[in-house]
Symmetry: C2
Amino acid sequence: MERIEHHASFSGRQEVWQHTSRSTGCTMKFGIYLPPAALAGERCPVLYWLSGLTCTEQNFITKAGAQRHAAAHDLIVVAPDTSPRGANIANDAAYDLGQGAGFYVDATETPWAAHFQMQTYVADELPALIEQHFPASAARGIFGHSMGGHGALVTALRHPGRYRSVSAFSPIVAPSQVPWGQKALAAYLGNRPDVWKAWDATALIATAHERLPLLIDQGDADEFLQQHLRPELLLAACQEVGYPLELRMQPGYDHSYYFIASFIGDHFAHHAKTLSASA
Amino acid sequence: MERIEHHASFSGRQEVWQHTSRSTGCTMKFGIYLPPAALAGERCPVLYWLSGLTCTEQNFITKAGAQRHAAAHDLIVVAPDTSPRGANIANDAAYDLGQGAGFYVDATETPWAAHFQMQTYVADELPALIEQHFPASAARGIFGHSMGGHGALVTALRHPGRYRSVSAFSPIVAPSQVPWGQKALAAYLGNRPDVWKAWDATALIATAHERLPLLIDQGDADEFLQQHLRPELLLAACQEVGYPLELRMQPGYDHSYYFIASFIGDHFAHHAKTLSASA
């Protein structure tokens, strides 16, 4: 564990750390925002952010404007990188496969399985590390954007009891039915659509026991809406089983961090409702 | 004039434009945030942001978290690039001279004078363009960071009556007395310390007729504080002539956009006090 960046921010501190990960077998970086209460030694709930395609740990911490809200709600915010990285790690020339595109699954196929164990990393290894080294309580929330929105939904749905709150911006809600998802799931998990369902939020909703209320914001001017995101599929699945979903279509908004920044305050309020009460 | 980016943001719109500039003789880009009131056709005051060394028009619009405040105060915010740019334009291998380092002066020396006319660009050409093409009132404020803090102070002090409010983050307050400034002023204006004084906020304060209250935030963990920024020189000059300066030393903060984002709400409130009343 080595701290490679630290910046005072909204009376708290934004840090970046790197460490050797057991699950991915390489050096991983993550951003962590410590609110004033955490700097004062108080144990704070932790909100995990999962980023989208091509992102590193930097995008969210520099562009989302999250720190002011994290400070106001006394929440730690952890933002990991989106994949294993390195010259000796499998990659692909496309932006939507390989490094920067881990899809938060545990790969089973060659050449990906050796390092692309992002689900184990974000759901198991990283929270254990955070709760050991920082003033973190055991109250966890999770959210993310696009590929990371998929990651947040799937990670929460696969681990009942582990997270107390979940939300997403412009998530890939049904990866087994859209091009981005089909390409990634086929590469990482093989051409086995039955297996993909265990990594598909729309499919997982049908059998979910735990019912964490979902908040989803989606811009209606998002260039990926029709082909890759398709929130109507999740909406239908939730209606089918009575799963609590608040899907907000935001008129005129696109897929960018300008969209995220505009509504992230509402997501912090959503998470704080549960996390701050249970800290 | 060509719009090359547009994103919904806090119920307004963040845009990026490029145009052929008469003063710099090349294509220039600027960011412009149009608050909801401007989109509804109301003429809004304009706050100009000048960025620091190495920045383009992108840094401020992606990292400062300004849009939420601009929307709340009904202010247009314009953020130009920091220099002329292009393969056929003079440059230097160092980060603190040439492209990305225009210092907001009008250069008189070879090879810079042909394009490096940034003072004329930011003080004359750009405001005229903005007031012609956007729903902008004639009420103007100006602020900036580091080299751009110097730019904001000097531009306001050199043009009494043109701006109604001014502020800065971590400004180079006395370029004629510090290495960054001496290097740039010598290159752009020649080795003429008497001429440099017309581009030095600390020197200009001594003879200022107009007294716009200055708000300056400076992190005390800023890595450039002792060598390049030296706010105590401006403080002394202001005290000498009774110029109104609020200099806030912010404990633990560095030179980054994390610092800017933490306090930019206060700067918007400072500018809105004058701009919104006079719109």
